[in-house]
């Protein structure tokens, strides 16, 4: 068994494969070729006068003084056409807006009436006062005093959930940045230098992925909560450390979640290193640093951005799970996972205590996942070259119609062969 197997089939290659071919269909490449050639040929035909100097395809649109689109602009224009990604972006934006407007941010107070979480009287069993027409027989829209209800101590649940959203987002963001930094550094060093460096770094990575993240996370969570004791901090320092627990936890968790990214960046670098422009830069006299930062990292940006995004979505659920088993965030901070954990006993009588934080965890994670998917498609030049089955059926009708009209004039044969539809065909055989 050669080393290839080891390199080609690492678990992360799974994601890589997805990454590279999220929708790479049977004919994607062929279509790609055709589309390119088609474009080239077509424009060569239209601009025959200019094309003569350099031949077919060459010198297309040469006369124009047009500055081409940069890769970034192309990615952006593809991204904003991705419906799922826009849905995710808007949803995430609204969630952030809601939480910031209601509970403020940092020292700036928000607009919601409850800014301090204090216990109070439980009104109507703590039922949510939010009513939306059509749901639960409500007739009008109303927010009421406690739109998300109250917990068993009479605390306003809306304020708590909004604070939880802020904490979860903060953790996800910091965690994402930390993991991104470590992952990119380790991955690019391993992929660029290969050999012994690669070996050592990858062994280290293997070490970390041997344990489930939740297990490592629990240990690190316990470790972080033990910090004040270990450094022998006084009460004031202890309190301030506890205040900043989410940040510390995020950094600690960032130190274990980078492995997947590191392996992806590494395999990306291994591929990029074989690309001739890297040799080209080397021959031009570029240093290692310049080659890595100027030539290779920009070309790995797709992998990095996409997986950084997905990392953040994983971070939201990981933090929630850890807080749920009490190794994550606890008082005085509030996170969505902690809310679910804290109110576990009351779910059968107050189910809303379960639904609201859960809803927001899912909204955040789902939006980030969709954004990641949009980025993935946007960075992959090969995606979406193939129209959907429905669009294809429509196109075919159009073709038949135009052929029909044409054949009325000339005597051309009109048999349309839908032979390409092998994919559609397959289930007719399978069934």
């Amino acid at each position: 068994m050669s080393n290839d197997r080891f390199q080609n089939n690492e678990p992360d290659d799974a994601d890589r494969l997805e990454q590279a071919l999220p929708d790479g269909p049977q004919a994607d490449r062929e279509i790609g070729v055709d589309a390119n050639d088609a474009g080239e040929a077509a424009s060569a035909r239209t601009g025959e006068a200019t094309a003569d100097a350099y031949g077919r395809g060459e010198g297309v649109g040469e006369g124009q003084e047009v500055q081409g689109l940069s890769q970034g602009q192309i990615v952006w224009s593809r991204f904003i056409r991705h419906r799922g990604a826009i849905f995710g972006l808007v949803t995430l934006g609204l969630v952030i807006l809601l939480s910031v407007l209601s509970m403020g941010i940092g020292p700036i107070p928000g607009l919601w009436r409850v800014q301090e979480i204090t216990s109070g009287d439980v009104i109507d069993g703590g039922r949510p006062t939010l009513s939306v027409p059509g749901i639960g027989g409500a007739t009008g829209f109303a927010i009421g005093a406690n739109p998300f209800g109250q917990d068993s101590l009479g605390r306003d649940y809306f304020a708590q959930v909004m604070l939880g959203v802020q904490t979860s987002l903060l953790v996800a963001f910091i965690l994402g940045i930390v993991a991104l930094l470590i992952g990119v550094t380790v991955g690019s060093a391993a992929g660029f230098y290969r050999g012994k460096v690669d070996m050592a770094l990858m062994r280290f990575t293997d070490l970390i992925i041997t344990l489930p993240v939740i297990v490592l996370g629990a240990v690190l969570g316990a470790l972080v909560s033990r910090v004040p004791l270990r450094i022998g901090a006084g009460p004031e320092l202890t309190a301030s450390i506890r205040e900043n627990m989410p940040v510390m936890l995020a950094v600690a968790l960032g130190c274990i979640l980078w492995t997947g990214l590191a392996r992806l960046v590494r395999s990306e670098f291994l591929t990029l290193r074989e690309r001739e422009f890297v040799d080209s830069a080397r021959v031009a006299g570029a240093s290692d640093w310049r080659i890595i930062t100027k030539h290779m990292l920009p070309n790995a940006i797709g992998v990095i951005v996409v997986n950084g995004t997905l990392l953040m979505s994983a971070a939201v659920t990981l933090e929630a799970a850890l807080s749920f088993v009490n190794f994550g965030i606890g008082p005085p901070n509030i996170s969505l996972g902690y809310l679910i954990s804290d109110n576990q006993g009351a779910f059968s009588t107050r189910p809303w205590l379960f639904w609201w934080p859960g809803l927001f965890i899912i909204l955040i994670a789902l939006s980030i996942n969709f954004i990641g998917d949009g980025l993935r498609d946007a960075f992959d030049p090969r995606t979406k070259k193939i129209p959907s089955a429905r669009a294809m059926a429509k196109a075919e009708k159009q073709l038949v119609a135009s052929r029909g009209a044409a054949s009325a004039q000339s005597n051309g044969a009109t048999a349309v062969q839908s032979n390409g539809a092998t994919a559609v065909q397959s289930k007719e055989d399978a069934s």
Binding site: L207, A218, T317, I340, F347, A365, S426, A430
Partner: protein, 508 residues
Amino acid sequence: MARFIARRLALAVGTLFVLSFLMYGLLEFALDPLVDLRENPAPNRQELIDNRIRLLNLDVPWYQRYFLWLGNFLTGDFGIAWRTMQPVATLVRGAIATSVQLVFAATIISILLGVTIGLVSALRQYTSFDYAITFVSFLLYSLPIFWVAVLLKQFLAIGANDYLQSPTVNWPLVVILSIVSGLFWAGALGGKRAKRIQVFVGAFVVTLAVFAGALLTGWVNNPTIGIVGIGVLSVALALGVSALFAGMNNKRALYAALTTAVLGTVLWWPLQWLFFYVEMNWLWIIGLLALSLALAALIGWLFGGPDRQISIRGAMITALFTSVLIFVDRVLQTWVPYNNAPQIRGRPLATIGASTPGLNADFWMAQLDRATHIMLPTLALVLISFATYVRYQRGAMLEVLNQDYIRTARAKGLSERVVIVRHALRNALMPLASIVPVDFITLIGGAVITETIFGWAGMGRLFITSMDGQEVDPVMFYIILTGGLAMIANLVADFLYAVIDPRIRVNA
């Protein structure tokens, strides 16, 4: 191959060693065995602390303590959980089996389901079905496992038990489910518009009829399959297996599978006598299964023809399925006594523990009891990891369908069934070997949460309680066990990979 395995083993042992050392160091700082004594107002506090320090060797630097621990561990002394003073070995005895059961069941089910749906999704690329599956897998991807587990426990299980106690048919729900089923099958089978409508109507009617039948006849309160059910289901499967793996043209394979199905159904009757008179155990069950597979192989062989192997394979798959049906049928026969047992009192869907304590069960009822317990935690794990397989398998299948040899296969005039099943599937399954170990590790992590929520006395829960209780030894045992399982999973994957890929197997 032997050298390769030896090398990987050595590497695994080395990794485990470094891992255990690092984790021991981390735990030293993360856990505080003296936590309960620090605030203790008792007058003999210092004495208690000294005792604790002596008990746990806390006066020795941690890296030295690590080697003490390692020495003991290697000689089979896994340490103690100091709160209860129970040896770790006793604590984990039942827990390992419980956890392994859970994780394996979840792994196998999510692979089977995820891979199948991922494949179909790839074959129906860019259809509504594909988009729907992609959306659902995204949704599942975004669900935190603990939330799903609580949802299942608090809402599904309790709701279902309530329903079983006083069944009233919720017609709108039944109709919605039937529509969903109709859409699913229409999308999965695809085809021209007329065909999709046919499939939709068919699936809708069948689902509706099954639900209505089950609910109105009280089948849900006394579920059985019976000889008729076994017969119908086995014959249907025999037809399905033949169509998929041999093609309906291969009459011999078809007849072999059908004969096996019919024979299996007929054998139901004598088996009931056997089950009645002989107390069963797993040895018997495995023996009977082996016997049925051997019979099926014989049937396939007798039908023979040029492609004996295909007939044998089809017959054996049918036999396996029929055997499982007969087994399930017998287990379900204990439903009524189980449901009426004083420990159950008509609430069969368990939410706590891995088995009902104090239940006076024979072999069959014990299986039923196990099933009702394992169902929900497994479902929670499957819902989470299944999405990974769907997305992964979809990508892998699309990549394979893009390969030149698929075009060659089509150009040879092979039917689409053969192109997909023989040429695409096998290649698309190969990279699975690299994703399974990763997912397996994730599932072990998931089990930590589900065990905690469903109150299973498994390794995951032991880990959480020991972390809470500041007990190092059980946590270290858990880490070694988990690390070891991960290494084994990786080794098995490497091995499987080598077995299925001739490029590695031949002149490796």
